[in-house]
Amino acid sequence: MKQLRETFQELTRFKSALVGLGILAVIVALAIYTVITIPYGKAVRLWRGGEDMWRYNPVNAKPAWINYFTPRKLPQTRVLRSEEHAQMEEETVGKTSRKVTITYQFRYTADLPPSELALVYKPAFKKKRPLVSVTWVTPDGREYTFGRITVKSVSVHGRYWYSISRDQKLVQLFGTQNVEEGLFCRVDDMKRVQKGDHRVVITAYLFEPDASIETELVLYGTVHGLAGTDHLRRDIMVGLLWGTPVALSFGLAAALGTMITSVIIAALGAWFGGYADSLVQRLTEIRMIIPTLPILIMVGMFFSKSIWAILATLLVLNIIESSVKNYRAIFLQEKNAPYIEAARSYGAGHMRIIFRYLIPRVIPWLIPSFVLAVPSYVFLEAALAVLGLGDPVLPTWGKVLSDAYGRGALFQGHYYWVLEPAFMLMVTGFGFTMIGHALDRIFNPRLREI
């Protein structure tokens, strides 16, 4: 324990190590926070999306804080609920029918039109479907009537979504412009938004005495949240957050498992010498020729993409790994140390010597390699995901990156989609490497002389 404290003190001499430790502390805190607030089951459900989980999010929205850096004011998503933001009037029309008029009036001041427009109908009825239609009045007085449909109570939550952006009539009307531009931009200068008050009137005919209807007008923003959204409207933050514990545990588990087995085998070979040593060396050579990533690719393709399968394969493959050579060199040196000779002379058995004396002595040397190995496994998992062989249910950084790349994020200007997971990968890698290099300078005796 005292050694730990001493090591820590020495570590603080290096500025880079302090930065690395800081980064690591943040990452670990993030991981813990994530696992607590978004437990595994919930994360998987969130990421799978489906139904209406993410429906209120815009597609491919940039992170909201971009607004601090751009001169133009980018809109966030606004959900206007009829109960709060609109005026409702009812009129009886005939024996059992009523006409409900919901009038929205809102001011739009952003510099860009919404990315999408939708209406949510929340009807309550037994058999006879309500009939609705929408009239939109722009600030400069243009009126558009559209969306004359009957409302079906389709979704589980009793919501019926109607996409204004894809309304046939409006699409044809606005031609080259999209619907949002048509409704929100100036007529004279189609690039600029006409700021002002919009009025949206929804007329609904209810055919049952106790039928009712509520609506929501959704103006999708172009920015959302801390990390933006992806093509499935998912908040990328979920992917970034959950990627943290996944990356950490995968990296640590792989590095640790690899190191433990390789060290033990190197020790056995070096200690017993002769045939055992030659065997270990031959096995190491064989291992060097087996291409890791291609094997993992094959496993992912033919067997299972689950992260457990990949981890298990990796651990089995890495029972012997190329660093066995380095460990063996160290063990060969230590083998002749006087304290080992002393242990043998009092009759200690082979296993005892190896596990009680040889290996522990070498642990300080191993720590830097361990720390430095972790990021390579983190990137390995990301690499598999980028290739399309990532875990299908888990949100990981590699997955976000591969989604981004697969959807041509770079061509469409969704740079944030690529940069965010890249940033997380980079920073994590950096943290470990900085600490690892500093530890190397502390523990490697040859480097201490310098």
């Binding site: 060396q281 890791t292 990137f379 399309g388 690529v418």
Partner: protein
């Protein structure tokens, strides 16, 4: 000389042996869950059905009879291929088991036919497809490695002379930048230079349509190589410089270096003969390991840049689920790794006179 020849020979044998075992393991893994067998069976059934249905000699048979014929022929073919028996026969008949047959196929580079992909010459033979793509990978890969290698040795030597200087400390603190693999920087570089600044192409080998003039063609290729080489360079250079510089520093505090200085050996010669030469063995070792991990990283790097080499072939094969190509590629990678280890072992022996005959791999 003789010692060198003997050592080389022993290494060749050892590596070949390792290769055989490695490829065998790969085959076993590839057939995990009987997947490859299933594919093969489906292929057989399809081709036999096709041939029976289109064969005029069988035109007059009823569908029933055709079915029976197909089943019979399929069973015969399966038996011929050994697909009716277990994959590995752990008895006297091991040599007749399919696993062994696949092993021989793999070793002789008889890698079968692709399912979906074909070469630009139209062939579906996996080996031909791979052959076509291999030179592109080698071109990119070799130039990148050589550039990184020689640059980092030169820079590291210079840095080791100026220990404690601002450049030296800078190189130490920048070393972590190499944690990110080449494809990572590739993505960033594309973002900056291709998407934003539109200075360099997004990817590919040469512009489309390729220029007729050979000079313009070469120029176009070079232009397309700039980003991938840069990505590789950025990823590799920092750790390389850091580790070589550390080697040089460690080795320059060796006793024999001090002795040489005492003898009056002038600066340049001292560096060359007393620092560089003895450090070459561990430098070569660490270069070998870097190469090997670079081979792996190449898979994604090439995909990111759509460079028409083995790496993007991998990507295509994964996307189209072309099993024979994937398995074939894995074999070829094993070969490439084996060759790399062998060549570097050889260079190591040239450089370090302490290698004894019959000794293991120096790498």
């Amino acid at each position: 000389m003789i010692r060198l020849a003997r050592y080389t020979f022993m290494r060749a044998i050892a590596i070949f042996f390792a290769l055989v075992i490695g490829i065998f393991l790969t085959i076993v893994v590839a057939n995990m869950g009987g997947y490859v067998d299933k594919i093969k069976k489906a292929q057989v059934e399809e081709s036999i059905s096709m041939s029976v249905f289109t064969n005029p000699a069988y035109k007059n048979l009823t569908t029933e009879e055709k079915r029976e014929l197909i089943d019979k022929l399929v069973a015969l073919e399966l038996e011929r291929l050994g697909l009716d028996k277990p994959f590995i026969r752990l008895d006297r008949n091991f040599l007749r088991s399919r696993a062994f047959k696949y092993l021989i196929d793999a070793l002789t580079l008889n890698l079968g036919f692709a399912e979906h992909i074909h070469s630009t010459s139209g062939s579906k033979r996996v080996w031909i497809i791979i052959q076509e793509r291999l030179p592109y990978s080698v071109l990119l890969f070799t130039s990148a490695s050589l550039i990184v290698f020689f640059t980092s040795i030169y820079v590291a030597l210079v840095l080791s002379r100026r220990y404690g200087s601002i450049w030296d400390r800078l190189s130490v603190s920048l070393a972590p930048l190499s944690t990110a693999p080449p494809w990572f920087y590739g993505v960033i570089l594309i973002l900056i230079f291709a998407a934003s600044l539109r200075l360099l192409p997004f990817g590919g080998f040469v512009s489309i349509p390729p220029p007729k003039n050979p000079f313009a063609y070469a120029l176009s290729v070079i232009l397309h190589m700039i980003l991938p080489l840069s990505a590789w360079f950025i990823s590799g250079i920092f750790a390389s410089v850091y580790s070589w510089r550390t080697f040089f520093l460690i080795y320059s505090s060796e006793d024999y270096v001090e002795m040489a200085r005492a003898k009056g050996v002038p600066g340049r010669e001292l560096e060359r003969r007393y620092i560089l030469r003895p450090t070459l063995p561990p430098i070569i070792t660490s270069f070998a390991l870097m190469l090997i991990s670079a081979w792996m990283g190449a898979i994604i790097t090439e995909s990111v840049f759509k460079w028409p080499g083995l790496g993007s072939l991998y990507m295509e094969a994964i996307n189209s689920f072309d099993t024979p190509v994937i398995v074939g590629l894995t074999m070829i990678y094993a070969y490439l790794l084996g060759i790399t280890v062998f060549v570097l072992d050889f260079i190591y022996a040239l450089v370090d006179p302490r290698i004894k005959v019959g000794g293991g791999s120096a790498i």
